[in-house]
Symmetry: C3
């Protein structure tokens, strides 16, 4: 069966996000909080940042999906992350993991692996991070990747099958896989790499799309990446640098029209990658 | 006696903020820190973010007013919040409470109620939050409200009388009350709801206005809301979405002219609401 | 021997930052994280925010330089700051200290002094902060300075000689000294004082420049301040207020051209100041 990967299907799901306004509970790093909350709002979702041991797991009851990002990790937060992920699973709610900097330090890698054991719906990272999570030889340099998405795909597919989740690997072309099928997303602009936490924010956007299509996280993730990348393309036309790109990106997510999405989304199956 | 609620009175107090540059100590959530500090600076006040047990209460000596916002709450911060509020009271300095997410979780609601016991000068929240603080049946969905300001007014007035404070309830029309009189503020733009932490930031702005008129927190709060809402209206004229609205809002707070304030502030007593 | 303080030498070092993309590990306050990460990216460096006890010192191995900023200080962070500074020294990597609010509270001042003992490569603060660090009579009002850079220079020179570091004092004219020579930087715009954390961010930029010229932190710091100030000047030409200045500043750091740097950098030795 072919996957629905058109601009029309992306627009349809995006409209569902705007109409239902899913509440996305975010436990995320300090750098990303502002852009993540603003991106979710611009796209029509509703962000809630609640991270403490005392309430994170209780908060899940109110949420449609959960985003966990380990960026500025500390032990005080890891307990909450695990409790929240566990609560999400028990309540049957999707949860998404952004394994920032996997492989950089022992503490970080071990925390991430313990979260992977709690079976996220989606793991989204750059090639090095995905390789480190999969147990491969990912070379990490801080939070940037030194490998390409294609290099990480084989390990990413293994990881997806083993965990039973979707894995998205960011790059010039993003690759999304459930371990069997692979979707390539070619929307985006290189200038995005000069704006901090855009990767963190788009992972949260994927959580919002998945909340509106929990039966098909592969397609939902691909659609989220495409809509985000397209908004960045629209913003890049007038941007004078990374800061105006960021402003334009959020404005475009808020105001992008049906025709722009339908005509410019660049998604396709790429099972032979 | 009629309250002074004109554009001229708003401008007069705004000028006092710009001239004296009150230092506002903010213990606030991680999402709001950037926009709150920038909004205070744009308006002519001076922000200081100091939250730790070891110095927050000592820092109050330097401040003209204190803002406490419980957004990304954790136990490590609640002790500081209480110590700082207590110190502000003892020093006779105004302090303002933003009860973000009141009613969402047990931990959050209990922390907020313990802060209310320390008698803030102003409590500012959305309708659901005010109803939850007042002990009513506020329905909370994350940090958004599902009730209107008018619905919360009766409970808000009770709360104001019981605590001896001003209560401001945000909405399409903001309502501000000391338990006896009610002021309605109609400045603003709906697009503000798509920018995170604007509510947090305007509560800090209210603290700055109160610092310059500590004898009349009801009028000071109304003036702060009006100037903020008017700046948002000016920004909305040219905004292409929520991110450019945010940029324009801060620019307008910095550059708004006397005639614009005098002619466009929309404040009135609304005791029969 | 004359110092190289031309626009051409600033451009040369700036190009080295862009070409090598040094990884700057930042342990910094919550308010500054967004603008600091975005400024480093715009300038071609690579930011990594990693602060926890469990990994900060291990992370130093990956970094080219370290930035420590005590803005929103808490005891949980001070141990990491000291461990990271110690690790940087042992590995022979430059580290830079931003003593935000030195003198404001006992806890803050003592923490800063314990970090100074670990011999930073650069200390950068406003006049009051530098005077407080040097043990003088700096008058602090929150995080703003009430003294001028020239007033703090004598104590700053003493501090630089005693620690064996470079000291940069911000002001209308920035002064940079190694205790023997003094460089004045006149680039910048007063509107910068209305944008939060620009001082924090430029200290991180200085760390990136020092990472590319570790043998000469005096000149590297001066060049960083000049390039930053020049980008702010370019942005100020079109800014409508502090928020658009911030956008334009980051855009300009990304896109500023060789001729603009070569012709407009305002650096000179000022040993008789």
């Amino acid at each position: 069966m072919d996957l629905q990967l058109t601009g029309a299907s992306a627009w349809e799901l995006f409209c569902k996000v705007k109409e239902t306004g899913p509440l996305i509970q975010c436990i995320t790093n300090f750098v990303s909080m502002d852009i993540m909350a603003n991106m979710l709002l611009a796209a029509g979702a509703s962000p809630a940042m609640a991270h403490s041991r005392e309430e994170a797991a209780e908060f899940v009851r109110l949420a449609s999906a959960v985003l966990i990002n380990v960026g500025t990790l500390s032990p005080e937060w890891t307990d909450s992350m695990r409790a929240t992920a566990t609560a999400a699973r028990e309540l049957g709610k999707p949860w998404v993991l952004d394994p920032v900097g996997a492989g950089a330090t022992t503490f970080r890698t071990q925390t991430i692996l313990s979260l992977v054991d709690l079976k996220p719906t989606l793991i989204r990272g750059n090639a090095s991070e995905v390789m480190a999570v999969a147990g491969g030889v990912g070379t990490v340099r801080g939070v940037d990747s030194t490998a390409s998405a294609v290099e990480a795909l084989s390990l990413g597919k293994d990881l997806a099958r083993r965990v039973g989740c979707v894995v998205a690997i960011s790059g010039a072309t993003d690759l999304v896989t459930d371990g069997h099928r692979v979707v390539a997303c070619r929307n985006g602009t290189p200038l995005l790499t000069k704006v901090t936490a855009t990767g963190c924010a788009v992972t949260a956007l994927a959580a919002a799309f998945i909340a509106c299509a929990p039966h098909d996280p592969l397609t939902a993730t691909a659609h989220a990446l495409a809509v985000f990348g397209l908004a960045a393309e629209l913003a890049a036309r007038e941007a004078r640098g990374p800061a105006s790109l960021r402003v334009g990106l959020l404005d475009a997510l808020y105001s992008v029209k049906q025709s722009q999405v339908c005509e410019n989304v660049l998604l396709n199956e790429a099972n032979d990658t």
